[in-house]
């Protein structure tokens, strides 16, 4: 069975290693955790992409790819994630596990070294990032920011949170803003990078067949040139307890054939640090988190008001976000029906099969996280950002005991804050 260790490699630099032989791959990630701020978001988001272009040893993508091919097609992806009001930037990587190489040769040490090289030994010109790579990745980042509009489903949720949290750090997009990207220079980016390296809290993650001591040694050596710093702090997350007096209604018109309706709720201060958090997770599952949920069964299946309707939680920020795809003229009917379903949860009108179904789905979903290296990494990064050590098994045990009354009680704390409606141009 899997065995987990957590060790501090250097001050503020933590390694979580999961020892298991059930996977064909070894999963590695290195994440710098910075406060999400309007001024730095774009530069932070750009850093891993520029780093991924080349190192002093492997100065271009062709040579990096060649090195990865030699490591049996290892994959190293730059990633930018948002966990509460923490901007997480770095790399996730997956390599063939040592057990499956054709000649029995170990990969872990070379893989860790390559990751360390990507993070700490970039290709430079005149002492800063190379202008070519910076310009190229700036253009890509701009494309990504502008491209957010292409997937209307995620775009609607993004617009909802932007507008709902316009006065909070959470309203800042993880990729930053177009104007900030345009202003970036190789020198300014270099400055930001140095700053991140010396001040960000760092999470390192490994899951694979190597013993923890070997993993620790490989990563210590790979990260040996990291600046020594005593003040790597995990960023905080501000929580607004209540919604505004009157829900704000925000509309946007675009050339689309299907409308999107998104609703944002404040959870009355219930976050992952609170005792009633497991009840909130159950509440979300019953309301809109699964295919057994009230939104799915009533709004979508029974009344055919939309193609999809679901809800999700932002556990650190204390938000519940509802997302649905509707016909333009169903706006009011769909909105009223979504709110009516929430009222039912608040009144405790939850059938046994709804309660138990949500519980089984949640527990099943959490347990199966243990079978997926990427999902497990994502879970533990979320825990690290929140400063929590609760394991998946412990969470499952908490879900086992949640009652209907606890779900109704936590549902009563939900307050509608903002409604976002993406409608057609002609409408």
């Amino acid at each position: 069975m899997a065995q987990m260790t957590r060790r501090e490699l250097f001050p503020g630099v933590w390694l979580r290693a999961i020892h298991t032989e059930k996977f064909k791959s070894a999963y590695l990630s290195i994440t710098l955790m910075a406060p999400l701020e309007r001024a730095t978001a774009a530069e932070n988001a750009l850093v891993p992409y520029v780093l991924r272009r080349g190192t002093a040893v492997h100065p271009d993508m062709e040579r990096l790819s060649a090195a990865l091919d030699e490591l049996y097609g290892g994959a190293v992806e730059p990633v930018v994630r948002k966990k509460g009001e923490t901007q997480c930037v770095g790399f996730v990587a997956s390599f063939l596990d040592d057990a499956y190489t054709l000649g029995g040769e170990p990969i872990l040490e070379s893989a860790a070294a390559l990751l360390g090289e990507l993070l700490l030994n970039p290709y430079t010109q005149d002492g800063v990032f190379c202008p070519d790579y910076t310009a190229g990745e700036k253009a890509n980042l701009l494309d990504r920011i502008r491209g957010q509009v292409n997937d209307k489903r995620t775009y609607a949720t993004l617009q909802l949170t932007r507008r709902m949290c316009r006065e909070e750090a959470f309203g800042v997009d993880k990729l930053g803003e177009e104007a900030s990207v345009e202003a970036i220079t190789p020198a300014s980016l270099w400055q930001r990078y140095q700053n991140l390296l010396s001040s960000a809290a760092i999470e390192v993650y490994y899951c694979g067949s190597a013993a923890p001591e070997r993993v620790e040694a490989a990563l210590r050596s790979a990260l040996a040139s990291l600046p020594v710093s005593e003040n790597r702090l995990t960023p905080e997350c501000q929580v607004r307890l209540h919604a505004e007096e009157q829900p704000r209604v925000e509309e946007e018109a675009m050339d689309v054939t299907q409308g999107k309706l998104a609703l944002g709720f404040r959870t009355g201060g219930v976050t992952c640090w609170e005792e009633d958090y497991p009840a909130l997770v159950m509440c979300n599952a019953i309301f809109g988190g699964t295919t057994l949920s009230k939104l799915f069964l009533n709004v979508r299946e029974k009344r055919s008001l939309c193609y999809y309707a679901s809800s999700m939680l932002e556990k650190m920020k204390g938000l519940m976000l509802v997302s649905s795809g509707i016909e333009f003229d169903k706006y009011e009917t769909a909105r009223d029906e979504i709110l009516a379903q929430l009222e039912a949860v608040r009144r405790g009108e939850i059938e046994d099969w709804e309660l138990e179904g949500a519980r089984r789905t949640l527990i099943g979903g959490h347990r199966s996280t243990l079978d997926d290296q990427g999902r497990q990494e994502e879970f533990w990064l979320g825990q690290a950002a929140a400063g929590l050590d609760t394991t998946i098994e412990e969470l499952c045990a908490q879900f086992e005991t949640i009652t209907r009354e606890q779900v109704a009680a936590v549902a009563q704390k939900l307050e509608l804050d903002t409604i976002y409606f993406l409608k057609g141009k002609e409408a």
């Binding site: 049996y72 390599f95 494309d143 050339d255 519980r359 089984r360 789905t361 527990i363």
Partner: protein
């Protein structure tokens, strides 16, 4: 049960063909929390014309997908909810060639497997539920219409192929699905959902024999007739249309490039063609190819660039696409690189490296039960075993990949589909 060992990739597969013709495959995974079951029929969006009991049927586009939605309805209610109530995550998909139903669960695996086998094998349709589904699928089709990547892909299929039904949208159109009745659904279920036309693949902490026992218990005891499919006349190598364009609300042009290949015969030939084609693509425009680096450097492609090979009965093709400010330049650059490889061949060192890389990726992808089970179902319908790749791999030659590029990456076999920003921005 027959036990197959794939020692090089650390896998075991149990196989049995039941009396009713169903092929059962089991991958035991004692260390895992979850179990995964995939129950699939050799019937997909492109199987629109078929013959059963001597009678030819022409069905509207979208029936296979419609059927997939409606199969979850049971006389007692809905299997989706029944499975979800047991904590399982069920779902289904319809591709051009197959329809598959699956679930993953960490508890009550046997109960869930029974539910899966039961709802997929027992049809229950009413005019009211068909009517309602037309509304739901109509919405789904419209959602796809707003998805530029999907649109660019489906437009590419229409450009590559003149007649082959792979050019049809799997979900059909709002118009085509309006012709679907309970009779259509019952007829297609009878034609294609016979155990003899299906496979069951299971991965997880399960007893292989037990899976067979449950399948024997729930499913019909004897095989029925299998429908004969017709995909129309054989396609010529030349593409139907060179280039197709559409305007949508996107920020950058989105494109799909397609190369029409030669169809491969069922059996090891299909698997071999897949492996050679995947390696050829890597050499031509893959992440560590010289062309990729050049296109990326010139800003003609970005991280969204992806590529693949696909094959169905009667058609095989390569495609590559993503976002580009100048898709025509990408088309031209690939054509030039294809011609260069035709003249000079693939660099020997590059080839060895690519093989190592592709092999490692394939082995890594075996972590996914879905990949293992869906892969085996597809491979079985194509006449082979998914894990055979591990044995075939080392014998693949550079010449095979070069020949494939020389034959397929030519002007007459290339089609380009572009989604441009509305209003001519950029």
């Amino acid at each position: 049960m027959e036990k197959l060992e794939f020692t090089r990739v650390g896998e075991q597969m149990y196989h049995e063909k039941l009396e009713n013709g169903l092929n059962v495959f089991v991958f035991p995974k004692p260390d895992y929390q979850k179990g995964y079951a995939f129950f699939a029929t050799n019937y997909g969006g492109m199987d629109m014309r078929f013959c059963l009991d001597g009678e030819w049927h022409d069905t509207p586009a979208g029936v296979a997908h419609f059927l997939e939605h409606k199969m979850f309805d049971t006389k007692e209610g809905n299997a989706l909810q029944e499975l979800a109530a047991n904590g399982a995550s069920p779902n289904a998909f319809t591709s051009n060639a197959i329809t598959g139903y699956f679930f993953e669960s960490t508890e009550k695996f046997e109960d869930n497997l029974k539910i899966l086998l039961s709802f997929v094998s027992i049809p229950y349709f009413t005019p009211e539920s068909v009517d309602k589904e037309q509304g739901i699928i109509g919405q789904e089709i419209r959602m796809y219409e707003d998805d530029p990547e999907w649109e660019s892909y489906i437009n590419l299929m229409e450009a590559l192929y003149k007649n082959h039904p792979v050019r049809e949208n799997v979900a059909g159109s709002v118009e085509s699905i309006s012709h679907i009745t309970t009779d259509t659904l019952y007829a297609c279920h009878k034609a294609f959902y016979d155990p003899a036309n299906m496979v069951l693949c299971v991965a997880g902490n399960v007893e292989p024999e037990r899976v067979c026992e449950l399948a024997r218990e729930i499913l019909p005891k004897t095989p029925g007739p299998i429908a004969l499919k017709d995909y129309g006349e054989e396609e010529k190598p030349r593409v139907f249309q060179r280039q197709v364009e559409k305007e949508m609300a996107v920020s950058t042009p989105i494109f799909q490039l397609g190369y029409k290949g030669d169809p491969a015969k069922n059996g090891e030939e299909r698997l071999r063609q897949r492996l050679v084609a995947e390696l050829a693509l890597e050499a031509l425009l893959g992440n560590s190819s010289p062309l990729y680096a050049k296109l990326y450097r010139e800003g003609l492609i970005n991280q969204n660039f992806s590529y693949g090979y696909d094959s169905y009965p009667g058609c095989s093709f390569l495609c590559a696409g993503g976002e580009s400010k100048d898709p025509e330049a990408v088309r031209m650059a690939v054509a030039e690189e294809g011609a260069r490889i035709g003249r000079e061949g693939i660099d020997g060192k590059l080839w060895e490296r690519l093989k190592k890389g592709v092999y490692g990726n394939k082995v890594r992808s075996l972590n996914s039960f879905e990949n293992l089970c869906v892969g085996q179902a597809q491979a079985f319908f194509a006449g082979t075993d998914f894990l055979r790749f591990a044995d075939l791999f080392s014998a693949l030659t550079k010449q095979e990949a070069e020949e494939l590029i020389a034959r397929w990456v030519t002007e007459e076999r290339t089609a380009l589909s572009i989604i441009r920003p509305k209003g001519g921005a950029d």
